[in-house]
Symmetry: C2
Subunit: 333 residues, 2 copies
């Protein structure tokens, strides 16, 4: 259907090799020939077929992005940051998401083979074995927000622990002793790290460690809402609530309002992620800031580096820093 290199060659009365050389600026070509080829290509609106080129050069100029179920703004920010950086470096993004079990992940990994020069994997539950068994050794991989002990992959993680630790320590330093936490999904690595930061800050800050103040949540607004309703029905009430993400903090805020409890006067509230609207809530939400699009960009940067070095470089782990942003909801604005 599309014009092929052969048709261009015919029209320009040269060989396909010459057409290829002209269009790729590789090898020496006579100026007149070059002009002839360019003209023929333009007249026929020739665009090289990426697949054909890929097969012969053994590279695809594409990067695979393996994502879990993508709900919420987090992923679009990752993709945005990744695509931006990739595009600047002439790479394209092959995105595959919604992998809920091992089989689906394996399918996705296999379909990536041949199609991409490297792979960014962001699947909280993935195991090193799954990667080893389904990818050739030579395939560069960057793990994002995965919990894999294995040292044979580059990895990029958010410094969830410090963020949570600093946030809770801030609350402690402002006199809070009974600080509740609305946790994220138990199997989620980010969520566990945030919880660990909370615990350490409570302990080291000499606040009260009260098990009944640790509420389950699943990162959704609804679970934040429910957690607060439960919390308020208990005997021991918190003076501050730390939600493991902003969505749950928003649900919590809504529940506190419905219960007639003023924030921050009666209960202080803090979230995690610092999504754009945190600033515009009533009261504005204190949160832990992450530069998510930067996370996506850095992953691509590391991956491209790894591709250039044919995956024979030293693998490293990078921790993306987080920072506490104090607003009205925690009362120390």
């Amino acid at each position: 259907m599309s014009t092929t290199i052969k048709e261009v060659a015919n029209r320009a009365r040269v060989s396909t090799a010459t057409v290829s050389r002209v269009l790729n600026n590789s090898g020496p070509v006579d100026d007149d020939t070059r002009r002839l080829v360019r003209e023929a290509a333009r007249e026929l609106r020739y665009v090289p077929n990426a697949i054909g080129r890929s097969l012969s050069t053994r590279k695809s100029d594409a990067i695979g992005l393996l994502l879990p179920d993508l709900y919420g703004e987090f992923f679009s920010e990752v993709i945005r940051g990744a695509d931006q950086y990739a595009q600047q470096n002439k790479y394209h993004l092959l995105v595959s998401s919604s992998h809920n079990n091992r089989n689906e992940i394996e399918d996705a990994l296999q379909m990536m083979r041949g199609r991409v020069d490297g792979l960014i994997v962001m699947s909280p539950h993935i195991e090193a074995d799954t990667l080893d068994e389904n990818l050739p050794r030579s395939m560069p991989v960057v793990l994002m927000n995965c919990f894999i002990e294995n040292d044979s992959f580059d990895s990029l993680n958010i410094d969830n622990y410090s963020g949570a630790y600093q946030m809770v320590m801030h609350l402690v330093e402002h006199g809070h002793k009974r600080i509740a936490m609305i946790k994220g999904p138990e199997r989620n690595y980010d969520a566990r790290e945030r919880w660990r930061g909370y615990n350490d800050a409570i302990r080291e800050g000499h606040a009260l460690a009260i098990p009944s103040l640790e509420m389950k949540g699943n990162f959704s607004e609804a679970s934040g809402y429910d957690a607060v309703r439960t919390l308020l029905n208990q005997n021991t009430k918190p003076t501050a609530i730390f939600a493991a993400n902003d969505s749950m903090a928003i649900g919590a805020l809504s529940a506190l309002r419905d219960s007639g409890i003023r924030v921050p006067e009666e209960i202080a509230l803090a979230g995690f992620d610092d999504i754009p609207i945190a600033h515009y809530l009533t009261p504005s939400l204190t949160s832990v800031h992450i530069d998510i699009s930067k996370l996506g960009g850095m992953a691509i940067e590391k991956l491209i580096h790894s591709i250039r070095l044919k995956n024979e470089h030293k693998k490293e782990r990078v921790l993306l820093p987080t920072s506490v942003v104090i607003r009205e909801s925690c009362g120390n604005h």
Copy 2:
């Protein structure tokens, strides 16, 4: 690097043709041979190279998704819906975003050639010519939220006009005469349609058409905030505000609070999109609901249909319905 079909053939002592037949369940193969090949493939952990297959079958099992700059939850919802439906039908998604000018769009279109079996284009400013000139005639395309008069492409649009019309009519019916609108970007088609719906509802509902109540905005929280500040400095003040999306409504809400104006008692507020947190705001936000992930899914559905029919089907335009969701912010809860 990876195992090839040839190595499998060697190990099983058959031809590559036979290996291909076994692995694709095409053509008749003796049971014993079949077993032999399967075993060899398993032992070598053979996974067919997608590029090689693509080149010879002339299909890629991939669908391209051309997106504009992706900020906010809207796009991740589109991608989620699209990827889900695509995956069910054994298609993969090649995503390319951040195209701000014609050249970048053309680059993206060209890189898609050969790599995808069909293309979903969601670029508000794209023109039919650009598509015609950079894609082969045979390439199935679905336009999403594009404003193209051309009848040679399938298109899928949100019924922005009705949504806005119904929302504003609801306000009119509840006694509002001076209804302000915070508009979206001027060049954005969705934004223009929402504005058109607003205007018609004002006129047909016999509310007051007051030019100074039409504020500019760009879909961001900040622009919603600024619009309200400006609005409140004018002589003619509205009794209700319709924001062209929820992000701006959130900014507006924040500005109203900062100005000490109660919502909905003093000013009613309504948004568009019905993002998940609309429900959890204080007050909860009245908005126009769109099923965004469904939009993505439907686009893929139409595209797959078009691929199967080799793009020789009758092109059609589909309008995805919207619905008004009344909550507290407009005072008629």
